[in-house]
Symmetry: C2
Subunit: 687 residues, 2 copies
């Protein structure tokens, strides 16, 4: 590294590179192609470009980042960053200059071109039977002849009016009891958890209580806020997993724990803080937006704000205490890290987790800021690499209730597979890696405006037609400069392999077909790295003034990912003695974007009738929500976690060979009868 | 108050008065008769005279105390007081000068002439059946064919080897599990609470686990540390209740809560901190004492210490984590304040508590620093003024198992009474006040060296023979200057009324018998307050160079206390339809000191055969210990708390009249046949 440059890494995007010292963080972000919001054009007045300078050594990037690697605090920053956030390393990107190596975290709210998170709650049927229910009770005030204690008095009333017996209450609830009873003139509404424990007491009659189902992915965290009285979702909030700065996949984070003495604690704190931020955001959303009050001429003093409710909209005006129940699911590594459980052994063969069973944990024991006595229901996990998220998928999809053999694929950064029917279910995991989500691909990027999300290649001309996020018109119907393409996101990558193959640009092996492509204007050898590459979008169509290309190495990455998945499916079918699967369900953001035909063409999973390939959206999140709204689903989840047999694929005989073969694009004749007619025979059967 | 003096109050003794400004705290303590340890003679080198300057306004004393009312921190203090204690207001008494009003807390360790706390554990039979038991288990390490999670693996082993099923573990225990299992090479000892929850996991085979039973009195806190494996008490530690500074009786503390916004929180924090200190002290006691290592000639650097074990003594060398169970009992107000439950309504008719039932609270939820997942068992309470301490007395004495009617009296600052047998039990409370413990008496003091603890008065000469704590020889067998008397403690006060009466110095009404005493050298009218007084010890026999006297007002205070108790007993007997009680048990430090005959003479409780009057020591503490060592006693405690009927005496008809009459010394003929022969008839029947 030269004396005049510094290594700067932006998270969660992972973009990194050397920048000249003394540039501002905003300038550095431009140089590295990261979008940070800066409405005022760096006039230091909008306060939108808030970033966080991380402190510590980050093994993954081999970089030591420190607050002392930037210029000192400026007075202008006081206006936008309070003391608490200042202490956490928050700075304004437009005034802070780079003096040394940095890891810069760009918070969700500072990101220009916010990610398109498709984690909306699906409209699935969930029986209404929540763990937390409200009961109204009126009691007589105590007298000398009946000096019974407040708690026993309320319990007596609850047994008389609602048949609830043997209730308990923890010390935090008991502390609020005497005042609530007297404020309510001896009439209160109590929240009862699981018909066992009083977790809240409010004076008078109250009709609603609320909860949240949280789905923590390796990359994204989504939270579904529900009215437990009506089962309705009143808000969905999501964010990037703040742990991304420690590594993009679970193994990287486990490694971070093993190499940094306080690594586990830091990662745990960050995700807990993240969850608290999501809750805070949802709480804020229940109030009308505020506008600064105009000052009278000559009036001084601090700014005042007034609420500006949208017409016709009602606002719930909740507090954190109004959140009385939480369910949460994640993969096993995220589960362990969230709970501050040692994840080391989950990352080491034979991958035993610390525990499988679900947990009811007082939210306060984890630092989750909601009603003091409320519980967090942590979904159970199946195995080291098949986590609570997969259990969520199972209780949402219920394959164990059908005769038909279903294959359920949940692909995030890690691939999780379930196969079976009412008689037997097995599960497995495969290391798909993050390539299918855009990482490790030269022009890979998040699903944000400018990302190529769909691709069509003309087999005759090899010309590329594509669509970017944020623009409805395809390339074919646009002027080049209207496209403003920036890179390729996950869904575009899914189209890529199938289209390159279908157009005859690559062969079954994934290698560029030089016989065909030699001399084509879109095909070339990169002079810097001597690699063949294919141009998807020309510089003039891009917002970054560069050709957007796919390289031979990129194709190899995609093949490794799809190969891992396909090999996993095949080995599981063999284990179950199945020739074919009757239904394929694809869960995750992945599933909502995948073109079923193209997925079949690239050989992402075994052959199946195209109509029987279904996207089931964020089924893991749906499972968390089902557990939130229906307590019986919690028992069902525990049943799943112990009755779905986990199969470790890497120790199966033939694993290596199967994996190698699976990297190829499929051969119609032997295994994919349903491809017939979709791809021309001569292409499909080329050698 | 003059400009040149300041009001200084020392706690827990409560001694107070004006002192000249600019005297040191040690000088002020001498002026007010408080003993603070100062081994080095104020040369600022021993560090023994550490005191704490309290911050805030103390309603009870109408004084505002502040760190700014003393001279600034001196360099010498750094040697003895660390930053943490400095921040809490700790100072060296010998360097700190009084500049304004102060409330000074003298910690236990700084008190010269430490209090004689007679709260030793009695040798009562307790069945061994603790809530926390140890189980050793060996399991197979996980393999690809058996990748079961650590927790489920251990549970499976526990079910197989010990028949334990459906165990749970909280997140704190789970966090230690993977490391313990691997450190122990897949063999661990688990601590199981209540056959329900794993609360600790240690590698390898471990034989012992420990617990503590805590009895929190209004004035004194005693803790019994037990080996849960053998039931043996290995240490008893006690201290003054640090809440004394907020008021000496429960009503004063409830008032403090109602008049100070953070009063409850402060009192709760102080007692929690106190309990943590007791635990720390017991932990320290399990290590050998340390001695400073001699330095070699010319050697520099910090002092080193070496252990100096007593010969033949074994040391347990425990850590806080080795304390795995706690039981705790107190009166209702102390219960509420400890738990930070609003005590307001306990102090207001009809005195309903927040709850009666026992509680199992994670010690961490209260800030009690022991094994992270351990519980605190809080004994149940009967009523607003009959607390968990009384339940402790009941389960230790078990009157509900006998046919005979027993009267159990537990007198601390508040009197609690239980009467009945296996068919019916009633309980009550009476406001005895702190007079019987020495407070509100002119020369009352704690049970410390120099306190008069026994008194005999010659009926013929009215001469006084007495014994002081710290000296075996009575006055009669000593030179005057050998006595070094300072005041009268609780047990001396118990003798006083009976002896004054028996010697004919006072009449049945408690009034000095002027006909007899006029002209006696020990009897006089105090010129300052015009009150008659009787000299117990002459100035030359004292260490304070003053005559130690008992005044008419002192006698009235003692009568009020004894009257409240006697009236309570009588009203309860009437309620039960009893003419007499078959057995009287006296619990508390009070009971261990009382002379049964003298108690009968003064009419402390109704007539009973003298051999059937028994002292049962700190039965409340014994009850806590029983609950610690035998889990069945916990259920029994809950049964007691709901099946002993509480009687509110103040609303009984004739309460006032009964109380007035009870203040008199008893008349032999009508109610006290067992007094016959104990006191001369002519004295007993005087008008």
């Amino acid at each position: 590294m030269s004396e005049n440059t510094a290594m700067v890494i932006f998270q969660p995007s992972g973009r990194r590179g050397e920048v000249p010292k003394n540039v501002t963080v905003i300038e550095a972000s431009r140089l590295l192609g990261v979008d940070i919001e800066a409405l005022c054009g760096e006039k230091k007045v909008c306060g939108k470009c808030v970033v966080r300078i991380e402190d510590g050594h980050f093994e993954k990037f081999n970089v030591t980042s420190s607050m002392s690697h930037v210029t000192p605090w400026q007075e202008e920053e006081d206006k936008f960053i309070n003391a608490e956030r200042k202490a956490k390393g928050f700075r304004l990107g437009c005034v802070t200059k780079v003096l040394g190596d940095l890891l810069v975290f760009v918070p969700e709210e500072s990101r220009a071109g916010k990610q398109v998170v498709s984690k909306a709650a699906r409209d699935i049927h969930i029986e209404h039977n929540p763990a937390v229910r409200l009961y109204y009770v009126q009691v007589d005030p105590p007298t000398f002849h009946d000096p019974l204690g407040d708690f026993e008095r309320v319990c007596k009333g609850l047994e008389r009016d609602h048949g609830l017996s043997n209730l308990t209450a923890d010390i935090f609830t008991l502390r609020t009891l005497p005042t609530a009873l007297r404020d309510g003139k001896w009439a209160v509404t109590v929240s009862v958890w699981n018909e066992k424990e009083i977790i809240r007491v409010r004076p008078g009659k109250v009709e609603h209580t609320y909860g949240v189902a949280i789905d923590v992915g390796t990359t994204t965290v989504a939270a579904y806020f529900c009215d437990l009285t009506t089962s309705k979702v009143f808000d969905t909030v999501s964010m990037m997993n703040p742990q991304c700065k420690y590594g993009e996949d679970v193994m990287a984070r486990i490694t971070y724990h093993m190499t940094s003495p306080d690594g586990l604690q830091r990662m745990s704190n960050d995700i807990i803080e993240g969850v608290n931020e999501l809750i805070e955001q949802a709480i804020q959303n229940t109030f009308p937006p505020k506008k600064k009050k105009k000052k009278k001429k000559g009036e001084e003093g601090p700014d005042e704000f007034v609420e500006v409710p949208e017409e016709g909209k009602t606002y719930l005006r909740l507090t954190r205490d109004d959140i009385e129940d939480v369910t949460i699911g994640f993969n096993t590594a995220m589960h362990h890290i969230f709970l501050n459980l040692n994840p080391e052994f989950v990352g080491m063969a034979p991958f035993p987790p610390v525990l499988h069973h679900s947990l009811d944990i007082k939210a306060r024991d984890l630092g989750i800021k909601i009603n003091a006595s409320s519980y967090l229901f942590v979904l159970p996990i199946e195995a080291g690499f098949v986590g609570a998220d997969n259990v969520g998928v199972l209780i949402a999809e219920e394959p164990y209730k059908y005769e038909e053999n279903q294959l359920i694929i949940d692909i995030g950064t890690n691939g999780e597979l379930v196969l079976g029917n009412r008689h037997k279910m097995i599960s497995s995991s495969c290391a798909t890696g993050p390539a299918l989500e855009g990482a490790q691909i030269t022009f890979g990027m998040r699903a944000a405006p400018g990302a190529i999300e769909r691709i069509d290649i003309d087999p005759a001309t090899k010309d590329v037609n594509y669509k970017v996020i944020g623009r409805d018109a395809w390339r074919k119907y646009s002027e080049p400069k209207e496209m403003q393409a920036k890179g390729i996101c996950g869904s575009g990558i899914l189209d890529l392999l199938a289209e390159l193959f279908r157009a005859g640009i690559i062969m079954r092996s994934g290698v560029f077909n030089r016989k065909v492509m030699e001399g084509h204007k879109r095909f070339r050898i990169n002079p810097d790295n001597r690699q063949p590459e294919f141009v998807l979008a020309w510089a003039e169509e891009s917002s970054i003034n560069k050709d957007i290309v796919v390289t031979q190495k990129d194709i190899r990455q995609i093949q490794l990912a799809k190969g891992a998945l396909y090999a996993g499916c095949k080995l599981m079918m063999r284990r179950m003695g199945l020739e074919k699967v009757e239904r394929v369900k694809i869960a995750g953001a992945f599933g909502t974007h995948v073109d079923r035909t193209k997925a079949l063409v690239m050989g992402l999973f075994p052959d199946c009738e195209i109509e029987k390939i279904l996207s089931v959206g964020n089924a893991a999140g749906d499972g968390c929500r089902a557990a939130l709204l229906n307590i019986r689903k919690r028992a069902e989840a525990n049943w799943c976690s112990r009755n779905v047999e986990y199969v470790e694929l890497t120790v199966e005989p033939n694993f290596q060979q199967e994996f190698m073969e699976s990297m190829q694009v499929p051969h119609m004749k032997d295994e994919f009868p349903h491809l017939k007619g979709v791809v021309a025979d001569e292409i499909l059967n080329q050698k």
